[in-house]
C-alpha cells in the first residue's frame, strides 16, 4: 500500500503541472477540437463563408472511391513497412546478440538511421533511385531493369516502403536486442542440452519469449507507418504517381492544403484520430496482458 501523505492546500502543485497543461491545451486539445469542428463545416469555393453541414463530409468520404483506395494502400503500406523493418531488425538483433567484441560500436552504428530526419531519409533514397541520376537505378538498368518510380506506382510504393522501413529498423533493432538480452542464458543452454540446434532454439524458445517485444513493436510500427511517414512520402513521391502512394495521412495534407477542401480534410483527420486512439488503447490494454506467456 502506498502511504497517503496529505499536504495542506497549496498552489505549488498546480504551478508545477501548469506548463504541461498549457502545452497540451495549445498544441493538442485546441487543434484537435478545431479539426473536430471543421469536419462538420463546408467551405465555399472562395473561402468566404462556411456552412454547418453535420456529417456530410463523412458521408462524402465514405462514398468516395479515392478515399477507399487510399485506405487500402495505407494498410498495404503499413503492413509492408512493419513487416520489413521488424524482420530485418530481428535478424540484425539475432546476429548482434552473438557478437561479443565491439558490440558497442556495432550497436551505435546501427542506431544512426533513427537519428536521420524523415525528409533527409527520403531525399537520400530519392537520389539513389532517381531514374536518370540515381546510382541504384543506374545499377538496375545495367542489369536490364528500367526503374522509374515516377511513372510506375508499384515501384513508387516499393521505394517509400524501403525508405520508411530503413528508418525504423534502428528503433526496432534496439528493442529486439534488449529483448534478446533479457532472455536468461540458461534457457538457451537448457535447450542446447535438450538437443535443439541454434535455428530450432531461435524458433522454439527465443521467438516465443520475444513475443511481448514483438507485439509492442508491431503497434509502434503501425502507428509510425500510419502517421510519421509523411515526410518520406512528401519528398519521395508526393503521393504519386496517380495516387499510388497517397496514404491517409498524406491525403489529409493534399486534400486540405493543396485541394483546399478543409472540411473533408478535417473529417479525414478525425478518422485518423479515432484510429490512433484505438491503437493506443490496444497497446496499453494488451501489450502486457495478452502476450505474456
Amino acid at each position: 500500500m502506498l502511504k497517503n501523505v496529505h499536504f495542506g492546500p497549496s498552489v505549488l502543485p498546480f504551478l508545477l503541472v501548469l506548463p504541461q497543461i498549457v502545452v497540451t491545451l495549445v498544441f493538442f486539445i485546441w487543434p484537435a477540437s478545431q479539426a473536430l469542428y471543421q469536419s462538420l463545416l463546408l467551405e465555399d469555393a472562395f473561402g468566404l463563408k462556411s456552412e454547418f453541414v453535420w456529417f456530410r463530409n463523412f458521408e462524402a468520404l465514405v462514398s468516395d472511391p479515392l478515399y477507399w483506395h487510399s485506405f487500402k494502400i495505407t494498410i498495404v503500406f503499413s503492413f509492408l513497412v512493419a513487416f520489413l523493418s521488424m524482420s530485418f531488425a530481428l535478424l540484425l538483433a539475432l546476429f548482434a546478440d552473438r557478437v561479443i567484441k565491439g558490440s558497442g560500436a556495432y550497436r551505435t552504428l546501427l542506431i544512426w538511421p533513427y537519428a536521420v530526419a524523415p525528409v533527409t531519409a527520403g531525399a537520400l533514397w530519392v537520389f539513389m533511385f532517381n531514374p536518370t541520376l540515381g546510382i541504384v537505378s543506374y545499377a538496375l538498368s545495367a542489369l536490364g531493369y528500367e526503374w522509374n518510380h515516377q511513372l510506375n506506382g508499384e515501384e513508387a510504393m516499393g521505394l517509400v516502403v524501403m525508405a520508411s522501413a530503413w528508418k525504423q529498423v534502428a528503433y526496432n533493432f534496439l528493442f529486439f536486442l534488449a529483448g534478446l538480452q533479457s532472455i536468461p542464458k540458461s534457457l538457451i543452454e537448457a535447450a542446447a542440452i535438450d538437443g535443439a540446434g541454434p535455428i530450432r532454439r531461435t524458433f522454439d524458445i527465443v521467438l516465443p519469449l520475444l513475443s511481448p517485444t514483438t507485439f509492442f513493436l508491431l503497434v509502434v510500427n503501425i502507428v509510425y507507418a500510419f502517421f510519421e511517414t509523411f515526410g518520406v512520402i512528401h519528398v519521395v513521391t508526393s503521393g504519386g504517381p496517380a495516387g499510388a502512394t497517397n496514404i491517409l495521412v498524406y491525403k489529409v495534407f493534399s486534400d486540405g492544403f493543396v485541394g483546399l477542401d478543409l472540411g473533408g480534410s478535417a473529417a479525414q483527420s478525425v478518422i485518423l484520430m479515432i484510429m490512433v486512439i484505438g491503437l493506443t488503447v490496444i497497446q496499453f490494454k494488451y501489450v502486457e496482458k495478452r502476450v505474456a506467456y
Binding site: P184, S186, L187, E189, A190, A191, A192, I193, D194, G195, A196, R200, D204, I205, P208, L209, S211, Y293
Partner: protein, 361 residues
Amino acid sequence: MARVVLEGIRKTYPNGFKAIHGVDVEIEDGEFLVLVGPSGCGKSTLLRMIAGLESITEGQLSIGDRPVNNLEPSERDIAMVFQNYALYPHMSVYKNMAYGLKIMGLSKAEIGERVKKAATILELTDEQLTRKPRQLSGGQRQRVAMGRAIVREPSVFLFDEPLSNLDAKLRVQMRLEIKTLQASLGITSIYVTHDQVEAMTLGHRLMVLNAGNVEQLGTPIELYQRPASLFVAGFIGSPAMNFAEARIDSMGKTITISGQEALPLGDGGMAEHGGKDVILGVRPEHLELVAEAPDAVPMTVTMVEQLGADTLVHGHFGESRSDLTVRLEGIRNIKGGEVLPIRVSPDHLHVFDPKTERRLS
C-alpha cells in the same frame, strides 16, 4: 549408466584467466560426486565443461569410455538441472519435459509414457502437468526441472546448485528427495554446491575446489576426519574448525600453544616434525568442558548461542586472545564473561604446515 573420467582438465579463458588448474578424477558408474567450494572456485565452470556448455582448454573428458571433448551438449548423453531451473516459461510442464524427447524424435506415445513415468516418480499430478511453470511453487518447479532431466534417461545427471533458490525447509526436503532418487535410479551424478551440509549429506565422494585447484577428493567422513589442508579443514564442518599457532616439541611428543600447557600428541607423536612451528586445528565438537584440570585451557566466554540440541560457546583464550568456539551438547547455562576450563582430546588434533597449508602426519 556410465563412468565419467576427467584427465588433466584445464580451463583458460581467452582473457588469460585460468579457471581450472588440472582436475583428475574417475567417477564410478552410479556414483554421486559433489563439487564443493566457495563462490568463484571454478566448480560451476567444471560442471559446465562436463556438460559441454564451456569448452575444455586442455585435458581429456570421457563419459562412458567415450571421449566427448568435442561433442555438443546434446550428444554427451547428459541431463542438467540449473540453479534457476531454466524451465521454458511459455510451455506447459508437460511440454517442458517433452521438448527434449520430441527433438530426439520419439513417438508421441513414447513421450507420453516417459513423461508420465517421471511425473509419477516426482509426484507431479496430471493437473500440474498442464500448468505453466510460473503457476508452480519453487519446490514444484524444482521437481519439473528434475523431471526434464529424468525423461531423457541420460547416463549422467549434472546438478548446478539446484537447491539454492529454495527456502531452508524445502531445501532439506528436496535434498533428501534427490538423494533417494539418485539411489533408486542409480545414475552417475555430479552435483555442484557451495553448501557444505548439502555436500556432506548427498555425496558418495566430495571434491573440494579452491581457486581452480582440487584441495581434496574423498568421502565425506574422510574429509571430516582427515582434512588434507587448512582450506578443507576450515570449509568442512559447521561451526568451522578452531585454529591456533602452536609448536611441536623437539621430541615430537607434545604440542604447545604459546603460553599454555603442552598437550600430548596422540598416535605416538610426530617425531619427524619435532621442533616445528605449526597450525593446530580442533573442531568445536572435540572440545569438552571439564572440571579444573592441569592441561585445561582457560577460555573467556564472549557469546553464547543456544541451538537447543547444542550450545555454541564463542570466546578466546591465551595472551594472543585466539578465537575459540566450543560446541557443547544440550542446553547449558553459560554467560558471557565466564572463564571455562576447556580440554582438548588428543585424538582429534589436526596439525598443518603454516607455509604449505597441507596436513602434517
